[in-house]
């Protein structure tokens, strides 16, 4: 049971590979260095029963990573980001229209503000690590300067709450302009002209 510290021989017929018994779940391989990737995978697949938890964990991680990868590959994030941003823009547009109309409707403002805060909560989940290349229009600094990006999303939510707090057309006008400023601040820095 010596630990094998020499580099593994590449020859499939070396004395070291003779120790391996493919597919037998009851043979423990100790002290033998797996020489090929197939041997490694089979080793894990053929591990004895007490290592099944490790095997299950390995399979779970693989599936999870693959699903996220498939989501990226399927291009789900790009359209989802766009739809979320468009819904936020719709709210700001409606608020801007109501400011111009001069009609103050506190309930409508609150509904818009809540939609903005919720939309931004959702937006926060749409830029996970690893999604740098998922869609066009994102600057790499979203991920390299994550704190700055998250900060601007939070500031945008605070502006949304400011809209709910407006008491008349004059204060609503200020609040909506402030909301627009937060949209702009983030887009200037973190959105590229890739559309």
């Amino acid at each position: 049971m010596d630990k094998d510290i020499d580099p593994p021989s590449l020859s499939p017929n070396s004395s070291k590979s003779k120790e391996i018994n493919f597919g037998n779940p009851h043979k423990t391989l100790v002290g033998t260095f797996p020489e090929t990737r197939l041997q490694t995978m089979t080793f894990i697949g053929g591990a004895p029963m007490k290592h099944s938890l490790i095997r299950a964990g390995f399979l779970f991680v693989t599936t999870a990573v693959m699903s996220v990868g498939i989501a990226f590959a399927a291009g789900a994030l790009g359209p989802e980001r766009e739809a979320t941003m468009k819904s936020l823009n719709k709210e700001v547009k409606a608020l801007s229209t109501s400011v111009k109309s001069g009609k103050f409707d506190a309930a409508k403002n609150k509904a818009s503000a809540d939609a903005i805060v919720a939309g931004l909560d959702h937006a926060k989940t749409l830029f996970p690590p690893g999604s740098e290349k998922a869609a066009k229009g994102t600057a790499p600094t979203i991920w390299t300067d994550r704190a700055g990006f998250d900060n601007l999303l939070t500031k945008a939510q605070e502006a949304g709450k400011g809209i709910a707090a407006a008491t008349d057309i004059a204060s609503l006008k200020v609040a909506v302009a402030a909301q627009g400023d937060t949209c702009k601040a983030c887009h200037e820095k973190y959105r590229t002209a890739n559309y």
Binding site: A94, V176, G180, K184, E188, R191, Y195
Partner: protein, 305 residues
């Protein structure tokens, strides 16, 4: 004999090369404005302020983020904020009236030479990230008014950074040749159009320098006036710049008033695509222009087919 012919060939080639370099040197020479050629003009500070805003000077000549943290005023053009270009990183200089680090010692001719000919008081060509290829279209009196306004701002001591550019002396001299083709003629109003339209055309093509991004460039990086404001690849290298032509026909905006609102309100008015790729700075400046000027810009743009 072969060696004598070879010597002749070399001699002719060498002469041609030297002549070519001398000719190129002469053609690419800086062409500053002569003080004597400047018109008599009484400064109009308000006009200078409006055109300084339309010109977007602060967007490039603002202080760096570090300087602002150290107390510099973000709305005073003391320069230093890095401008990353495909050629290298530039540091737009201090254009406040400081005599040591700003333009306090520049006379009117030096200012006009910079703004409209792209030539520094030291006789160097400026990298055309400084949009003198648009400012060249402006009236000299307007450029003089901008100078008066800028000189009226607080003088700030802020030393300039050297640009990081490859083969800088060759590059700058080469720009002298480039300018022979790239510098446009001054703006001439269209007599068949309204005063408002002409004001809009002047603002867009002169101080507004919209075409610097929105007009596509050829292989020599010269903006193609035959494709004016058609959009194309973003000059920064990433993404696209939209076309400003046929805006209403393509249903990008409902009407002229809608475009004017977009320019002055930006995302705060629920308008999209008004912030990224550098448009945020442009829109911020537009939001500070008089309403009549924004209306004029919209009136001009919406007539482009």
């Amino acid at each position: 004999m072969a060696s004598r012919r070879l010597k002749t060939v070399f001699g002719v080639a060498a002469t041609a090369i030297v002549a070519g370099i001398a000719g190129g040197w002469w053609l690419s020479a800086p062409n500053p404005v002569d003080s004597a050629s400047l018109p008599e003009h009484v400064a109009n500070l308000e006009n200078g302020r409006v055109l300084y805003t339309a010109g977007g000077c602060i967007s490039c000549h603002r202080p760096s983020a570090e300087a602002i943290l150290a107390g510099a005023k973000a709305d005073i053009p003391s320069g230093g904020s890095p401008l990353v270009t495909p050629l290298g990183t530039l540091y737009p200089p201090n254009i406040t009236a400081d005599k040591e680090t700003g333009i306090g010692t520049w006379d009117a001719a030096a200012f006009v030479s910079a703004m409209q000919r792209g030539v520094s008081p030291e006789g160097e060509h400026y990298i055309p990230a400084f949009p003198y290829t648009s400012y060249a279209r402006m009236k000299i009196e307007d450029v003089l008014d901008i100078r008066s306004y800028v000189m009226s701002l607080p003088a700030v001591k802020s030393p300039n950074h050297e640009a990081t550019l490859p083969l800088e002396p060759v590059l700058r001299r080469g720009i002298g040749l480039w300018k022979l083709v790239a510098l446009p003629k001054p703006f001439v109003p269209d007599a068949s159009q309204s005063a408002e339209w002409n004001r809009g055309a002047y603002l867009v093509n002169g101080p507004g320098h919209c075409g610097e991004c929105h007009t596509p460039r050829n292989a020599l990086m010269i903006a193609q006036s035959s494709n004016s404001l058609e959009g194309g690849p973003h000059p920064d290298g990433t993404g696209k710049v939209p076309s400003l032509r046929n805006l209403i026909g393509r249903k990008v905006f409902e009407d002229t008033a809608d475009l004017a609102s977009a320019l002055s309100e930006g995302e705060g008015g629920g308008y999209e695509h008004m912030s990224s790729g550098g448009m945020g700075d442009a829109q911020a400046n537009l939001s500070h222009l008089p309403a009549a000027d924004v209306a004029a810009i919209a009136a001009y743009l919406t007539t482009l087919k």
